[in-house]
């Protein structure tokens, strides 16, 4: 068998295929591939015969691929060729990957495939990378040589931009509005929600839905929280109410409130009504606050201790209740009515004698924000006191929630 060591897929398309006795059989159309250890193994070859039929032959029927001029040879005579079919889990390179959009899971972006790199290892062929660069595009148009000469005159290098096959997540374009595609790929599942959100905004709504269906609800929830409002609005419009409820239940109340507040009124009421009461109560509370006030930014899941407790009792309570809280490095001390008395750090709590009463740990009056306070002044307090979190109080200094630095960060960005 004689194969090249590497070749670009586009240079094969439409090239002649001969039988073993050197007779013209048809033209090469496509490779059928199967994912194997990150690469795509070529399993079958699709040929358009000279009388116009499309036939598929197994890869092992191919005798050789000549480089100059490019041609393929089957190791059988005309009468011996037995066409086969391909399996459902197989993809076609030309139809399903070339010229399509793929997710580059390494760089978290959506790109269009200009060409595919094929490598021969012993008797097997693999599609090892997608060419997404300008050079690949020019090759397809037929201007690559011209561009290369130009690059040489300018003494510039002009290389291919390749995405390794293991980072490719193809979106086969088959009846997208009917079939739910599951592109459940490990790479995608492991991606950070913020990166997923970036990708989402580059996809169309069918692709978004198919990705969301492939991801665990927890990731879906976090990704939705990270999306920009416009994309989010569209996705929320397409989610079923039950899914939306599940998503909201997995988010911190402040993030969930942001999402709920963007819903049309009737849907908002419906979704809140179907949620777990504990979650919907928090959201109801937060919805009362006007936009851009401390109240609208705060998270209602925090850890507060009665000032009469000792350090030991407090630690015990923290172990049992602290799971829910977003943030436990600052701990809040309250009086019998829940009024804010002071703030201590987790560090302080751990390193004092177990019997120390919490009240004695309070060193100074705590810095806090009022729930109606404008976000701008909250930001100012964060910078002035170098805070990581700030308590928010309502009437009678009652502790209602906390704002952490990541809730505030977007406002910093807007101010910068």
């Amino acid at each position: 068998m004689a194969f090249f060591s590497e070749i670009f897929f586009s240079t094969l398309i439409g090239k002649p295929v001969y039988t073993i006795d050197e007779k013209y059989y048809g033209n090469f159309r496509d490779f059928i591939v199967k994912r194997q250890n990150g690469n795509f193994l070529i399993t079958k070859v699709r040929i358009r015969t000279r009388d116009g039929h499309r036939v598929i032959v197994p890869w092992h029927d191919i005798h050789s691929i000549e480089a100059d001029p490019v041609s393929l040879k089957v190791n059988k005579k005309f009468a011996e060729i037995a066409p086969i079919d391909y399996d459902e889990d197989e993809l076609r390179l030309k139809r399903d990957i070339l010229d399509q959009q793929i997710i580059d899971t390494e760089n978290h972006r959506v790109v269009r495939v200009n060409d595919l790199k094929i490598v021969a290892v012993k008797d097997e062929l693999f599609m090892v990378a997608a060419d997404i660069g300008l050079r690949g595009l020019l090759r397809r148009i037929g201007l690559e040589q011209w561009a290369l000469s130009l690059a040489q005159i300018l003494r510039r290098s002009f290389s291919n931009t390749l995405v390794p096959a293991k980072y490719i997540d193809p979106f086969p374009a088959r009846i997208r509005h009917d079939i739910t595609l599951t592109v459940a790929q490990e790479q995608l599942k492991q991606m950070h929600p913020a990166d997923l959100a970036d990708i989402m905004s580059d996809l169309d709504h069918f692709e978004r839905t198919s990705i969301l269906q492939a991801l665990p609800t927890d990731t879906v929830a976090k990704t939705i929280a990270e999306l920009n409002p416009e994309v989010r609005k569209e996705i929320l419009g397409k989610l079923k109410d039950e899914t939306l409820t599940q998503v909201l239940e997995r988010l911190a109340p402040d993030a969930a409130t942001d999402i709920v507040s963007e819903l049309p009124r009737r849907r908002m009421q419906h979704v809140l009504a179907t949620m777990r009461t504990s979650d919907s109560k928090d959201i109801h509370e937060l919805l009362k606050f006007r936009k851009n006030t401390a109240g609208s930014l705060m998270n209602t899941e925090f850890v507060a201790f009665q000032k009469t407790l000792t350090a030991e009792e407090a630690l015990k309570e923290l172990r049992s209740k602290g799971q829910q809280a977003e943030y436990i490095y600052y701990l809040y001390i309250v009086d019998g009515e829940g009024g804010l008395e002071g703030v201590i750090s987790l560090r302080e709590l751990i390193f004092v004698e177990p019997q120390t009463p919490l009240a004695s740990l309070i060193k100074r009056k705590p810095v806090f924000a009022k729930s109606r306070e404008h976000a701008k002044s909250v930001v100012a307090k964060f910078t002035k006191y170098n805070l990581i979190a700030i308590p928010v109080v309502g009437k009678n200094k009652k502790l209602e929630g906390i704002i952490t630095v990541d809730d505030i960060l977007p406002l910093f960005k807007a101010a910068a």
Partner: protein, 408 residues
């Protein structure tokens, strides 16, 4: 019932905007000239044209809703890089000439208000660039929609011209056909300026952008229908206005600004101003949408990064293309010597050549089972679609051959 009305309002827009943008500076010039040269004898054409427009645009809108992809994406994914590249190059050239005629329209209409082009063109170019870089499609859509409503100015000026309504009805309902070269060319010109390749791209993309669900498609269909009818009506009244005044007095016009000026002695200053405002509005709308849309189609088809909120570094091709298009479109409009008629003819030639493959792609794609599922064309629909396509291609071939001879 109330719920349904709200839904219609929410989904309406792309069709009406696309159809309105179709009546741009070049379109207004063509319709004015058609009225001035042939009176009411071309009015009947607007009825079949509107039907054809509905047929073609409905297919694009349907494809947008069902596939969720723009036309240039689909052409790329189904017909490959080479075909897409040459199609987009054609679109780029055609649209550059369109942009030029939009800026010329701005210059011409502002001159009616005594604003010199050295002031109006740079300001307009900056405004266009600012809206593109600072706005989002959704906020811009509202402006576009409001601008589309301003097209009613033309309908009003049609009434102000006090046409003989009996003759108007006769011209509309009784097709008169002449086998003279000028008549045929004008006929083809009117069709070519109403059904342009880039509008099909634009409509499909904006339907996709809107994220219409397949079950709500009927509302979009409604939107497309209303849009096409409004656009036909506007063209109709422009022809009526110039037919009632310029044709009667034997005045020939070549640009839309000429037409506006020529209206003054016959239909009064109000009609002139309305006509000029309509032209200004259409030109600005076109100058905003065409460069942006062109840049989008090219980047999406060729796989370059695109998006209005991306910086020059992130999306160099996208930002580069629309910036260059605005500059190249605005500069020639600064000089009154620019041969506008030749520019328009060039645009018509390239558009005419491009229309054939684009229409064929549309009908082929909309019939792909794997793409459209059971939303492909019905057999009778295909008969109408292919007949329309063949007729349009034949007519644009006439136009291309003739304009080619005139330009070179």
């Amino acid at each position: 019932m109330k719920h349904r009305a709200l839904k219609i309002l929410a989904l309406i827009g792309p069709g009406i905007i696309a159809a309105a943008v179709g009546n741009d500076a070049g379109g207004i010039a063509t319709y004015s000239a058609a009225g001035a040269h042939f009176g009411y004898r071309l009015l009947w054409v607007m009825i079949p044209i509107t039907l054809v427009l509905v047929i073609v645009q409905e297919m694009c809108a349907r494809m947008g809703v069902v596939s969720g992809k723009g036309l240039s994406d689909l052409v790329r994914e189904v017909y490959g890089a080479k075909t897409t590249f040459y199609m987009l190059i054609g679109l780029l050239i055609a649209n550059l000439s369109t942009i030029l005629s939009e800026f010329a329209g701005i210059a011409g209409s502002m001159e009616i208000f005594d604003v010199p082009r050295y002031v109006s063109v740079p300001i307009a170019a900056f405004l266009v660039w600012w809206v593109i870089t600072k706005g989002t499609y959704r906020s811009a859509e509202k402006i576009f929609f409001a601008a589309a409503i301003l097209y009613f100015a033309y309908i009003v000026s049609g009434f102000l011209a006090r046409p003989n309504w009996g003759e108007v009805f006769e011209g509309t309902l009784r097709p008169s056909f002449e086998f003279s070269k000028p008549y045929l060319l004008m006929l083809v010109g009117v069709i070519g300026t109403t059904i342009t390749p880039w509008m099909q791209f634009f409509l499909q993309s904006s339907v996709v952008e809107k994220g219409v669900k397949t079950e709500d498609y009927r509302y979009t269909k409604f939107d497309v229908g209303i849009g096409a009818i409004l656009s036909g009506a506007v063209a109709f009244f422009i022809m009526v206005a110039s037919g009632a005044t310029l044709f009667v007095h034997g005045i020939r016009v070549e640009t839309a600004a000429d037409a506006a000026r020529a209206l003054l002695p016959f239909a009064g200053q109000f009609a002139e101003i309305l006509f000029a405002i309509g032209l200004l509005n259409a030109s600005i709308l076109g100058a905003m949408i065409v460069p942006l849309a062109t840049s989008y189609f090219i980047c999406e088809g060729l796989g370059f990064e695109s998006g209005v909120n991306k910086s020059f570094r992130e999306a160099p091709w996208f930002n580069g293309i629309f910036t260059v298009l605005i500059i190249l479109g605005a500069i020639p409009a600064l000089f009154p010597q620019t041969p506008l008629l030749k520019v328009m003819l060039t645009a018509q030639v390239v558009n005419g050549i491009l229309l054939a493959p684009v229409l064929i792609f549309i009908v082929l794609l909309v019939n792909k089972k794997w793409l459209m599922g059971h939303y492909t064309n019905k057999p009778w629909h295909n008969v109408i679609a292919w007949t329309t396509v063949v007729a349009l291609i034949a007519l644009s071939a006439v136009l291309v051959v003739n304009s080619f001879a005139e330009v070179f």
